[in-house]
């Protein structure tokens, strides 16, 4: 029989991955549509054109009339019980009461930066209204350039998180599912070369990558003007290295598990720390200095740092060698270990 390219086992195995994926509408939703909804939602919530006034509840009408003109504050008058309730429920970030001697008492959560800012603004307004004259003249020069807004920070984070999640979930679930169904055992009972089986997962990841990365990046560019300063080629190279590193990690996670429950637990165990530590939604610099070496060694930190530097600052691949080296090391180590311990049945 004539062996056309279409009948090559590698092509057939890769086709199986693609067919299983596109014929599962839920998988397509979570991999492709969900990041857009997330980016859109967060982009709207954190839009930076005009910051929303901070909700403040005041218990005395005098204080209220002093503060009501300040554009940075959304002042409401309420009795003390309702004010405390609003603070607790997050509807107000700051409550201002007036003590018997006229002292203004600020009630707020000190660990919330917005509440601290509201306190400073309210204090300033009260002092100025009472006659304070600032000795130093100031002027605001507002900085709204693209590349420095929250949405600019967020899109590369979501791209990195998507590459990680899709690679780990995609490989983890399909491998363990085919092991559980004994399909893997059945395929291993044929003359199929085993490296083609594993290779087909990588090929499938590569085929999805343009969509996985392209969708949030194009969405960010069109809806919010998020830049790709390093160029599409650099973005693609970083994404490919990242996708291979996480495919290797996914392979390692799935190398022995026999049940979906077991592999789900492992996947969450691996991904959860990175969701928190690797700076997807907020800068990883917020964690203590002692933790920084550990955080920089995580594959998702390396991927997101590289994506951000390339997309937002236009940093070249050569300068990004530490991040790419971290990803490469994860890829090699995870792949080597996975191959050694992989359970084929």
């Amino acid at each position: 029989m004539n062996r056309s390219i279409e009948l090559h086992p590698f092509v057939q195995l890769t086709l199986m991955r693609v067919r299983e994926f596109i014929r599962e509408p839920e998988a397509v939703f979570w991999a492709l549509i969900f990041p857009i909804l997330l980016a859109g939602g967060l982009g709207v919530a954190f839009r930076s054109d005009s910051p929303a006034p901070v909700p403040v509840v005041v218990t005395s009408p005098e204080l209220a009339s002093t503060l009501v003109g300040d554009p940075a504050l959304d002042v409401q008058l309420a009795d003390e019980a309702r004010a405390v309730e609003a603070l607790r429920g997050g509807r107000a970030l700051l409550v201002i009461e007036q003590a018997a001697d006229g002292t203004a008492v600020f009630r707020y959560d000190e660990s919330n930066p917005e509440a601290r800012a509201a306190r400073l603004t309210a204090n300033q307004a009260l002092q100025v209204a009472a006659g304070r004259i600032d000795p130093v003249a100031v002027q605001d020069d507002l900085w709204t350039e693209t590349g420095s807004r929250y949405i600019d920070f967020l899109i590369p984070g979501l791209v990195g998180m998507g590459i990680m999640g899709n690679a780990i979930w995609g490989l983890g679930f399909s491998i363990v599912d085919s092991r559980r169904r004994k399909l893997m055992k059945r395929i291993v009972a044929t003359p199929m070369p085993k490296h083609l089986y594993l290779g087909s997962f990588l090929a499938w990841r590569l085929m999805l990558l343009p969509v996985e990365v392209g969708v949030p990046v194009i969405f960010g560019a069109i809806a919010f003007g998020v830049p790709v300063r390093g160029g599409v080629i650099d973005l693609a190279m970083i994404s490919i290295v990242g996708a291979f590193a996480f495919a290797a990690i996914g392979l390692l996670i799935a190398s022995r598990a026999r049940t979906i429950e077991a592999v789900s637990g492992l996947m969450n165990f691996v991904m959860l720390p990175m969701w928190i530590l690797s700076g997807v939604f907020f800068s990883a610099d917020r964690f203590p200095d002692a933790m920084q070496p550990l955080i920089r060694a995580l594959p998702l930190s390396a991927l997101i740092d590289a994506l951000r530097a390339s997309m937002l600052q236009g940093t070249g691949l050569v300068q990004l060698w530490p991040q790419l080296a971290v990803l490469g090391a994860w890829m090699l180590v995870a792949f080597a270990v996975a191959l050694r311990i992989f359970r084929w049945r």
């Binding site: 029989m1 009948l7 090559h8 086992p9 199986m16 014929r23 055992k185 059945r186 003359p191």
Partner: protein, 312 residues
């Protein structure tokens, strides 16, 4: 078949395999002849699947020798994979693929063999070529699994419990297919815990229990070795005295199960049944049921082990 000149497609000598604390296979020998369907018959847990998976090169043996098509797994695995057709117990193929896509995938692994469409025709699934695997019935899935075993045009076919869990009609359809494979000259090793399946399909069977082969031969010889033609099963109200039946002419053995049910293995129905009825009448134990059947491999198993094949 090009391999029909091999004296024995499968030869197993003193095969042993133990898992942690369970001995699955405790030293068995058998040989499959070219063109025959050889059956491993036994209850669940007898060691049939372990045996067939060792022969398929999926499970390593602890000791013993397995020679497949004149080759050995340790040295010729790649060649053997090309020439064996394997159907595993309980494989669930990818549900999102169509039957034709599934066969195209499996066909791509083998250097020669029928086209995917031809393989589909071999198991009479042509009209389901574009149906998703997930939409097939149990019997159709099993036929597709058979087709996957045939795409490499195998010299030896391994079928592990091919009809377990199927309804009677689907079983019969599968039997017809396996009969057809036999007519095509294929050599088959089959495991089953259905004695009627072994009796219907197999030229020779080995009866396994607790990891050993306790009897082997053609189904006809094994049944003849019982020395009985028929089995009479009956039950009575209360407990009949079974002792007296043991000395009755034509009765070879008596088994009571303690709840009023009993089985007699007899050589002649026409003398034993009237005698049985008369004796029960004398004891004042009315019959609640009475069935007779010709002796089967099941009865061979019962007489060898005292248990039924499908006792849990």
């Amino acid at each position: 078949m090009s391999d029909s000149q091999i004296a024995s497609p499968l030869r197993v000598r003193d095969l042993r395999k133990a898992y942690k604390d369970v001995v699955a296979v405790a030293g068995i020998d058998f040989e499959v002849r070219p063109g025959e369907c050889f059956g491993l018959l036994g209850p669940n847990g007898a060691g049939k699947t372990t045996t067939i998976e060792i022969c398929e090169g999926l499970t390593p043996a602890d000791s013993g020798d397995v020679e497949v098509l004149g080759l050995r797994w340790a040295t010729d695995a790649a060649e053997l994979r090309q020439r064996l057709g394997i159907q595993l117990q309980e494989t669930q193929l990818a549900e999102k693929l169509t039957t034709l896509e599934t066969l195209t995938l499996f066909r791509s692994f083998f250097r020669q063999g029928p086209s995917p469409a031809e393989a589909l025709a071999l198991v009479q699934l042509e009209e389901k070529r574009d149906a998703r695997v997930g939409a097939l019935s149990g019997g159709q899935k099993q036929r597709l699994a058979l087709a996957c075993a045939l795409v490499g045009d195998p010299a030896l076919l391994f079928l592990d419990e091919p009809t377990t869990g199927l309804d009677p009609q689907a079983r019969r359809q599968l039997w017809d297919l396996i009969e057809q494979f036999k007519r095509d000259g294929r050599t088959i090793l089959l495991t089953t815990h259905y004695m009627d399946e072994a009796q219907q399909l197999c030229e020779r069977v080995a009866i396994m229990d607790h990891g050993r082969i306790i009897a082997h031969g053609t189904p006809r010889d094994l049944i003849a070795s019982l020395g009985v033609e028929h089995v009479v099963a009956f039950s009575t109200e209360g407990h009949a005295d079974l002792q007296v039946f043991e000395t009755m002419t034509g009765v070879r053995s008596v088994r009571g199960s303690g709840d009023g049910r009993a089985e007699l293995q007899v050589s002649e129905l026409h003398t034993c049944v009237p005698a049985l009825l008369a004796e029960l009448g004398r004891q004042g134990r009315p019959l609640t049921s009475l069935t007779t059947h010709s002796a089967t491999l099941e009865d061979v198993f019962v007489s060898l082990t005292g248990r039924h094949l499908r006792d849990e």
